[in-house]
Symmetry: C2
Subunit: 196 residues, 2 copies
DNA sequence: ACTCTACCGGAGGCGCACCTCCGCTTCAAC
DNA sequence: GTTGAAGCGGAGGTGCGCCTCCGGTAGAGT
């Protein structure tokens, strides 16, 4: 198993308690929060999350004194997983590696959008997430650009936002979403024709 | 002034009261709701909306017995304006007409996304909005396709969702948003080169 | 000017989510 | 097995948004 360290990697593990029951509760809370955020967005009730996790509301507040800290932990966890994936796909063809990774990125964004929006863009954790995302996915993008399969007048951040935006929208069905994403990625791909 | 009737056009005017003070309050409520939804999304407080409009909460409930009705009216109003614009730009060059219209569409979507999401896709008003949108913007799209400036394997609905998704995302600045939108629209545009 | 009716506003009851606080429980070190 | 510290859970206070209801007000018809 390939495991590499990114800015978020430490942050994720840092707060997890050591005592056995406490660690179990912590994990249950994180899982419940992921589920609740996916279902109800950032407005999910904290009491509902505690209930799902099978712990008291007090336990939730001990582990995550603020709503924000819960958001941050859930989000950082996902970003870390994405970074690990980037390492795994790094050996494939440039364009394929990039799209495989984007595919997974897109999947996360569907449910994590609400959490991201609720996070202040300047918080320590959010900055670490951004840096990790660039450290993980950036090389895939750069390689594709160097290989001449991605247009030069675009930045990695542009691509992330484009995909995130499209994934956050409601479509009639999966086919339509894929079609639209494909068309947009056609704009990303280097054109074979020279002029206008 | 070009004024044309679309499915939403009647719905918009239907509920407006006739008495002078009532009509004034109705308009103030709509304006306040637009503002509040843009600022806080679909979770905006109804009491805050009433306060902004300078009317009592009772007046809000008399005009819009349910939160949904307020959403619907605000949204239908915007759609109607978009339809009127489509009529106005119909004489320009196909690609230009389409992009001018999309530009305005994009502007609306930034603030109206929350409202749209809160609306049930099957409600009478929402269906009328969808039909109006297609009746207004569809011809611009069809004309651009016939003129050979838009790829053939795309539907109007695909384009709307693509633009809506991109506009709903947070960007670093306006320049980045424009750049990303431009790249995505490059995917929409007919390619000059023949093969892959 | 008068009337009568439609409309106005906001006080207040209700319910839900947030968060604190503390007596009880469980872990783990010895 | 004992013990003390770390952890647990949920009762309950607080605040806020939703919605109803009705005494007062202001427009429209005569």
């Amino acid at each position: 198993m390939t495991t590499q360290s990114f800015p978020v990697t430490e942050l994720v593990a840092a707060r997890r308690p050591t005592r056995k029951d406490a660690a179990r509760n912590y994990d249950a809370l994180l899982a419940a929060a992921r589920e609740a955020f996916a279902e109800h967005g950032a407005e999910a009730s904290l009491e509902d999350i505690a209930r799902r996790a099978g712990v008291g509301i007090g336990t939730l507040y001990r582990n995550f004194p603020t709503r924000r800290q819960l958001f941050e932990t859930v989000y950082a966890d996902e970003v870390n997983a994405l970074c690990q994936l980037a390492v795994e796909v790094a050996e494939r063809e440039p364009w394929e590696a990039l799209t495989v990774w984007l595919d997974r990125f897109a999947g996360y964004m569907v449910t994590k959008r609400a959490v991201r929006e609720a996070l202040d863009g300047e918080s320590e954790v959010f900055v670490a997430c951004r840096e990790s995302m660039y450290a993980g996915g950036g090389p895939l993008f750069a390689r594709a650009q160097e290989a001449g399969v991605v247009r030069g007048d675009m930045e990695f951040g542009d691509l992330l936002r484009m995909v995130a935006g499209i994934m956050a929208t409601a479509f009639e069905d999966e086919a339509q979403r894929d079609r639209v994403l494909g068309i947009a990625l056609d704009g990303v791909r280097m054109r074979k024709d020279p002029g206008a």
